[in-house]
């Protein structure tokens, strides 16, 4: 008989897994059950399907053996394994997050959350919703208010001639300029937009003009087109 102690785990869809106790204890939740002597029979895990549980066990196995003194797995190799492991489709990724949370497997939770965090970075709310199929449950007024409260986060930097001067502008204003609007809508995720053909002076004038347009639109009066806005069409049309 094997001298290694094992525990039995049962997934939500009835799959049975026999796992070494040390591996299972990577999960703080299971560890607690074992220590409280509740693990004599199969431990039921109603929140985790067999497919996801097998992945979690795989992760725990890999990370237990690496802390083994006999193991020669280096940090680099483990990281490479993690990267490979986490390369799954979004559904599986979210299930892994929920399982890691429920089973309290810290390393796996960190890994999965960081992966999703990297997907969210620099994205606009629209992009985040599209990526993860989230319904926008704000009313237009509510959404407007949230954006106003967090206006600084929505500013776009316009840089001229790839050089020194950077202008921070509100996204709504930057969109007044067709070229920039197109760049934003084409998911230009870098928040610094370089404008090679425009000098600082012109850019300042144009921004002033856009401000007036946006303010005029908000006060519902007829916007008047100034000379600067005519310049919009010339230097900025790619």
């Amino acid at each position: 008989m094997s001298s290694v102690k094992k525990v039995t785990l049962k997934s939500s869809d009835g799959e049975i897994f026999e796992v070494e106790e040390t591996v299972a204890m990577e999960s703080q939740t299971i560890k607690g059950l074992i220590e409280d002597d509740c693990a004599d029979n199969a431990i039921p895990l109603p929140n985790v399907t067999g497919h996801i549980l097998s992945l979690v066990i795989q992760y725990c196995k890999e990370h237990t053996s690496s802390s083994d003194s006999n193991s020669s797995k280096s940090n680099e190799k483990l990281k490479a394994w993690d990267t490979q492991f986490i390369n799954v489709d979004l559904n599986v990724l979210f299930d892994l997050i929920m399982a890691a949370n429920y089973l309290n497997v810290k390393g796996l939770l960190d890994l999965t959350c960081q992966t999703v965090a990297d997907m969210i970075k620099e994205k606009t709310p629209e992009q985040i919703r599209a990526m993860f199929n989230i319904v926008n449950d704000f009313t237009p007024e509510e959404e407007e208010e949230v954006r106003r409260e967090n206006a600084w986060a929505f500013e776009i930097s316009l840089k001229n001639n790839n050089v020194v001067d950077t202008f921070e502008v509100e996204e709504s204003m930057a969109k007044e300029l067709q070229t920039i609007k197109n760049m934003i809508e084409d998911n230009y995720t870098d928040s610094v937009i370089p404008l090679h053909n425009v000098t600082s002076d012109i850019l300042e004038l144009v921004i002033e003009d856009c401000k007036k347009h946006v303010e005029a639109a908000e006060s519902e009066s007829e916007p008047s087109y100034s000379l600067a806005s005519k310049l919009i069409d010339d230097p900025l049309k790619a």
Partner: protein, 291 residues
């Protein structure tokens, strides 16, 4: 590969349901992004907003010792704010005076790194104790400190700021700036440009260059003819700040983790024997470089 999970999900099995995640999980994810991302995330949905505004998230963005720093302010209203997010935004937008109003502390809004403006009173300005050379003036409309130093006349210009690197955020590249103004009657700054240096005695490499304190936004090729051409490459020029002062970059310093060195920032012009006047010093600012 595509999973059809239990019948609870109503949407197509091809599409992931981030909304199913517990709010706590979303907070965990958002706390691994950045302050800007966290604010943008507020506009995604109600659940996202609640997760992204939670204290768990913003506690991660605040420096670990922010409470101790704020305690050094005699008028700290910041800690009375209800949420960590509000504390973060307040410390980013409204610098607080600490250490007997000798320093101003604030956070770099996009990164949460610690920034300081050392008041002129905190600096070592040679001859500033002698009223015929420097005088201390109060500029309540323009300065955030009780006093600024005004140069009346010196030929030895020597300004030095020191601080402990343990006050800075770890693993961060910082830049130091002289924050100042020139009066209309200022003179003596158009000949030999001062030398500036930033570094520590323990840390090794000290970054050195020359600076041109004169008129801002001067294109290098329009520079005063008297400055020798070989100094133009190493000379930086002042820029206008939002608080009405000018600033000139004095150098950079990369702060490692866990070291406690003495950072020295110095501006010196003592070679030319030229008399200078009309420099008003607000202080020296240390903040992270961009990017």
């Amino acid at each position: 590969m595509m999973e059809k999970e239990s019948g609870e999900r109503n949407s197509s099995p091809l599409v992931a349901e981030l909304s199913e995640l517990a709010e706590g999980c979303i907070s965990d994810i958002v706390s691994l992004t950045s302050p800007k991302d966290a604010c943008r995330a507020c506009a995604v949905s109600h659940k996202f907003r609640a997760a992204a505004e939670s204290n768990a998230v913003w506690e991660k963005f605040l420096p670990s010792d922010y409470q101790a720093i704020v305690a050094r302010s005699s008028s700290s209203d910041s800690l009375n704010l209800t949420s960590k997010k509000q504390i973060y935004l307040s410390l980013s937008d409204n610098p607080i005076l600490i250490d007997d109003s000798k320093k101003s502390f604030f956070l770099d809004k996009s990164s949460g790194k610690k920034c300081y403006l050392l008041a002129a009173r905190e600096l070592c300005i040679i001859w500033s104790g002698s009223p015929q050379y420097w005088r201390w003036i109060s500029l309540p409309e323009e300065s955030r400190f009780p006093e600024a130093a005004e140069l009346l006349d010196v030929c030895w210009l020597d300004i030095c700021g020191t601080m402990s690197t343990s006050m800075l955020s770890p693993k961060t590249n910082y830049a130091a700036y002289l924050v100042y103004k020139l009066t209309e009657e200022a003179y003596g700054f158009d000949h030999l440009p001062p030398t500036v240096s930033v570094g520590t005695t323990e840390g090794g490499e000290v970054c050195k260059q020359t600076v041109f304190l004169g008129q801002p936004a001067v294109e290098p090729n329009q520079q005063d003819q008297i400055v020798p051409p070989q100094q133009q490459q190493h000379t930086s020029h002042p820029s206008q700040r939002k608080d009405g002062w000018l600033e000139i970059k004095l150098g950079e310093y990369f702060n490692e983790e866990g070291k406690d060195y003495e950072l020295q920032i110095r501006l010196l012009e003592g070679e030319s024997r030229q008399w200078k006047s009309g420099l008003i010093v607000e202080g020296i600012e240390i903040r992270p470089t961009k990017g």
